[in-house]
Symmetry: C2
Subunit: 324 residues, 2 copies
């Protein structure tokens, strides 16, 4: 049972966890478009592949699946998730289980405005958002929202171009400079992250890990502490099962005045997943069970409170000539 | 022989290297003002201390030196370097060797304008810089410099407030908003970093490691490759020995049109030091030799070319109740 991890980048821990959980049952194969992606060297074997937007990219991946007798595939970068989801059937024809949600949901998660609508339709609170200056101005007149606000691209990952905006001039300026922006209510409350697994066979939400974010660095959770919030457990189980997410997803949540606001979903391993794993929320093992045709029992909240994760830099050293 | 590492923060690798090199000869004691500093948990023992600007801070450190029979002390954060340097004699009275340069040099290194003067006085190239809009405007009229330029605080570490500025309006705006800014020639060339050890006994530059920076992330070198540049070796040896730097320092250099421009010096272990260590440039071992009263032989350039370093996230996991 070999597992293929696409665009592994610097996510060495995820590669290491799969190797450990497979424990000789199978191998981990990793890819990246760069030879300077440290995570690929922690895999049993790796391939340097074209960039995901190169013509014929997916054919290269399908070839690797055949050659390496791959049983399951997952990607660690946002722009590739949609590709995997839309090509899910072609993977299945090759006997490969794509660890990803349904394509419409993956596309929705990538569009922050549509995602906000989906949260609302399912009874969850989310930050108010507007697609145009006019819409926002009307809402402001009604007293629904006021400055400061966030301005961000509707589609986009990481914290690119996210600006706190406090005046009409700035707002007009940004909208005249960039396309596809949205205006979002400014959230200042405590941030939480949830690592969630939805069983690929039963469709049941089998595990949730919630961490309170203590410190961010370059758009990533740098320090966090594990917490139990039963209200969030209930909301997440209900939302993910009703909408049909599958596999591993990462949810960002704000707490504002005692209420929880759902901010976004990344339908992949989040950058803070090592915290969950260290607390026993073993998603690689659940994925392996699913590959073997076994459903995972529901063990939501099965971890300890008050466990802290602190990131630091480790280094991978290689000869340059072995990286090309 | 116990070694004290102050403000260890997330610099786990430096703590690990000292433990490894001491190899039972002595212990590593680490401090930080936060219990959420992962590096302190890699030390043999640690202390949570007040913030460095708290009254009586140095007395707390001196007490630790006495209690733990410390033989040498070093700090990993910029604002503390000057404190250690100025209190060097008080450390020596306690039998502690402060691994730091002379206080005037540490103060100079923290002032980017003075440092630029020091580079120039010693015949090294450095980016042109100006302390006022008027001075810059005059130089611009003379054709000495033109937009774009960097605007940065004269004193300050990391990449705080560093802006590329392209017009008089922006420049005036920044100078009206912030104090103590300087205007610097915009450098676009290849960046290099040098990890340099100047023997604490002989005052000779005993080791230099040069890395070409391949990728930066959040102001830190994320990927780099080892290189030999004999011209830079000569310049660094001559400059550090003439000016009297001591111990471990980190130098930032730009290459522009085939010439090397010295940018700044951090008189401490740089964030990219693990690359040098992995290539055999063993500064902890040289520090230990100095503590034992032994001079280090000069081994400048004693490492291999073409070795790549790639950083990735490791995690330290602890119970919150053990972090307070």
């Amino acid at each position: 049972m070999n597992i293929l991890i696409l665009s592994a980048g610097t996510r060495n821990k995820v590669v290491q966890y799969f190797k450990k959980e497979l424990n000789g049952l199978g191998e981990v194969i990793a890819t990246d478009c760069s030879g300077l992606a440290p995570a690929i060297y922690d895999a049993d074997r790796h391939y340097i592949v074209p960039r995901i937007d190169a013509p014929g990219y997916m054919d290269v991946i399908f070839d690797i699946c055949r050659k390496e007798k791959i049983s399951a595939v997952l990607s660690l970068i946002d722009p590739e998730l949609s590709m995997i989801a839309h090509d899910a059937d072609r993977f299945r024809e090759l006997g490969v289980m794509p660890v990803i949600s349904f394509p419409e949901l993956v596309d929705t998660a990538f569009d922050k405005y549509k995602m906000a609508q989906l949260f609302k339709e399912n009874g969850l609170k989310t930050a108010r958002c507007y697609l145009s200056v006019e819409e926002f101005t009307e809402a402001r007149k009604r007293g629904e929202i006021d400055y400061p606000v966030f301005v961000k691209p509707v589609c986009g990952s990481a914290s690119i171009h996210i600006n706190k905006v406090s005046s009409d001039e700035e707002l007009q300026g940004l909208f005249s400079m960039y396309d596809d922006l949205m205006i979002q209510e400014y959230m200042t409350g405590q941030e939480y992250g949830a690592d969630v697994y939805i069983d690929m066979i039963s469709g049941k939400c089998s595990q949730i890990f919630i961490k309170k974010k203590i410190k961010m660095r370059a758009g990533e959770t740098d320090k966090s502490v594990s917490v139990h919030i039963p209200e969030l457990f209930d909301q997440i189980v209900s939302f993910t099962e009703k909408t049909g997410f599958r596999g591993i997803i990462d949810i960002d949540i704000f707490e504002q005045n005692g209420e929880y606001y759902f901010s976004e979903i990344n339908p992949r391993f989040g950058g803070g997943y090592p915290h969950a794993y260290a607390c026993g929320v073993n998603v690689p093992r659940q994925i392996i069970a699913n590959i073997e045709g076994r459903e995972n029992p529901v063990t939501v909240g099965d971890y300890s409170d008050g466990i802290v994760m602190m990131k630091y830099n480790e280094v991978m050293i290689r000869e340059m000539t072995d990286c090309e």
